[in-house]
């Protein structure tokens, strides 16, 4: 253990600034992996309407960059994943407060549409914040003297395509596969395809749903660390794109960029599966904060 004086100490004014900047960046600049995903789907597409729709989506990305505008009007529910490295000192309460101030400032100063309301009164505080929102997930890794923040503005069209089913062991993996295919058919064009279909398998009910969200929002092209999960994601990616749902649910091959799977161990009597979907505007932004300053990425 290092003495306190030798630890990297987090600056909360900087966190606030980064939280604000990440929200705006995420809404405007699509990750390069998603742009390449569009290229791949366009190349493989033979349906004329689907080709036109994919072309419009690609044009929109260019217009957003040229006009420095938001890609999509849905500013989403702001989600921040904070990964705290080693040899640093951080006050968790101050960190969360700084992120919240960053969200409020992005909303007021850009300005952004506040898409967040109280769940019962439906009152919009016009700050993109509310009870327990922004969502802040905190995790740890062993990167020395740095803190990483990922920002995901999660749009509602795709978030409304969320499902959890407590399957039983007798349903097996077949039950999981069928469940995913049936949910993709059920939501059709409502989730703004081409999508990233996030699938959570195992855990408890809440962990299973969280895994589905992690799967849907992790970078496109990344693979599940569990080889069993990775096998399943390859299989499911081919299967969903054989259904003919297509971009915007108007027909074609390109229903999903990919199916991502995340797994967790579960109980002997349980076989939970969850689905959470990310729309084609698969927005995310990240920043690494260290003594050298802030480095932005996706």
């Amino acid at each position: 253990m290092l003495a306190d004086a030798d630890l990297f100490t987090v600056d909360y004014a900087e966190i606030e600034e980064v939280a604000k900047e990440l929200y705006i960046r995420a809404l405007k600049i699509l990750p390069p992996q998603v742009k390449r995903g569009f290229d791949r789907l366009s190349r493989d597409e033979d349906d004329a309407t689907a080709k036109t729709i994919l072309g419009t989506m690609v044009e929109n990305i260019k217009v957003a960059e040229r006009t420095r505008n938001l890609l999509c009007q849905d500013t989403g529910i702001p989600i921040y994943n904070v990964i705290i490295g080693g040899d640093l000192r951080v006050d968790g309460i101050a960190l969360k407060a700084a992120i919240r101030r960053g969200v409020e400032r992005a909303t007021r100063e850009h300005p952004l549409r506040s898409s967040v309301v109280h769940p019962i009164t439906r009152i919009n505080e016009q700050s993109s914040c509310g009870r327990l929102i922004p969502v802040i997930n905190i995790d740890f890794d062993d990167s020395p003297r740095q803190l990483r923040i990922e920002m995901i503005p999660k749009g509602s069209g795709s978030e409304n395509g969320s499902f959890l089913k407590m399957l039983i062991p007798a349903d097996g993996v077949d039950g999981i596969k069928a469940y995913v295919i049936d949910r993709v058919i059920e939501v059709g064009g409502r989730v703004c395809p081409p999508t990233i279909v996030g699938v959570g398998i195992g855990g408890t009910s809440d962990l299973c749903m969280h895994l589905a969200k992690v799967a849907a929002t992790r970078p496109l092209g990344s693979a599940c660390e569990d080889p069993e999960g990775e096998k399943l994601e390859k299989m499911l990616s081919i299967a969903v794109n054989s259904l003919g749902i297509g971009p915007q649910g108007l027909g074609g091959r390109g229903t999903a960029f990919a199916v991502h799977v995340e797994t967790a161990a579960t109980h002997i009597t349980m076989n939970p599966v969850a689905v959470n979907i990310q729309c084609h505007s698969a927005r995310r932004a990240s920043a690494v904060i260290s003594e050298e300053g802030v480095e932005y990425g996706f």
Partner: protein, 203 residues
């Protein structure tokens, strides 16, 4: 497949002339409407001072900036980013929008259901599918926010947009019972068994 340029508002015959697969470009005026707008209009007895007869509504809640009222920004709002939301949640409002307010066209993404299709058929209307998530592009088709009603519901007010070359967008449901979404769903369901078999699922 015909391309229609529609100077809004339109009449019933113009709405019935739209066929699934046609494309449309709208001109002049478009109204923005959303969940809360319609919940207040149809469930809570509120009325709008706008005349929607013959017009198109788009399922949206825009990003706007409050500014001084001027010729450019007559309502005191500048457009920032205006896009389209998923329509399905507003399915039950299609009929009252058409019956009570005289709306002819609904623009959205993801499609509407059987009740809307019946309303389009019976009353003469159509659903146009815009590319969801392409809001930066869509914003370039909107020249101004002309007026706003039910402003307390911000951002889910009833917005009146001035538009220029709004399109081309696709007719996805028409007044003749046609729906591209039904066709795609049938295709997907017919391919389900093969998709599962390819993954080794025994049924």
């Amino acid at each position: 497949m015909t391309h229609h340029v529609l100077e809004m508002p339109i009449d019933e015959a113009q709405a019935r002339a739209l066929r699934v697969g046609d494309t449309v470009t709208l001109e002049r005026t478009l109204f923005g409407i959303r969940d809360a707008t319609q919940i207040h209009m149809f469930d809570r007895g509120r009325r709008t001072r706008f005349d929607l007869k013959g017009y198109a509504v788009i399922h949206t809640a825009p990003n706007v900036r409050r500014v001084e009222r001027s010729n450019e920004h007559p309502a005191g709002f500048a457009p920032v980013c205006i896009g389209t939301t998923t329509s399905q949640r507003m399915e039950r409002f299609t009929r009252p929008l058409m019956e009570r307010e005289g709306v002819r066209i609904v623009i959205g993404k993801g499609g509407l259901g059987d009740a809307s299709r019946a309303a389009f058929q019976e009353l003469g209307g159509a659903y146009l599918a815009i590319v969801g998530g392409a809001a930066a592009l869509e914003t370039t088709w909107i020249t101004a926010i002309e007026d706003v009603d039910l402003e307390d519901l911000d951002p889910e007010c009833l917005w009146r947009f001035a538009i220029q070359g709004f399109g081309p967008i696709l007719v996805a449901m028409d007044a003749h019972g046609g729906s591209l979404y039904d066709k795609v769903r049938e295709t997907a369901e017919s391919r389900r068994a093969a998709a599962l078999a390819a993954m080794g699922v025994s049924q």
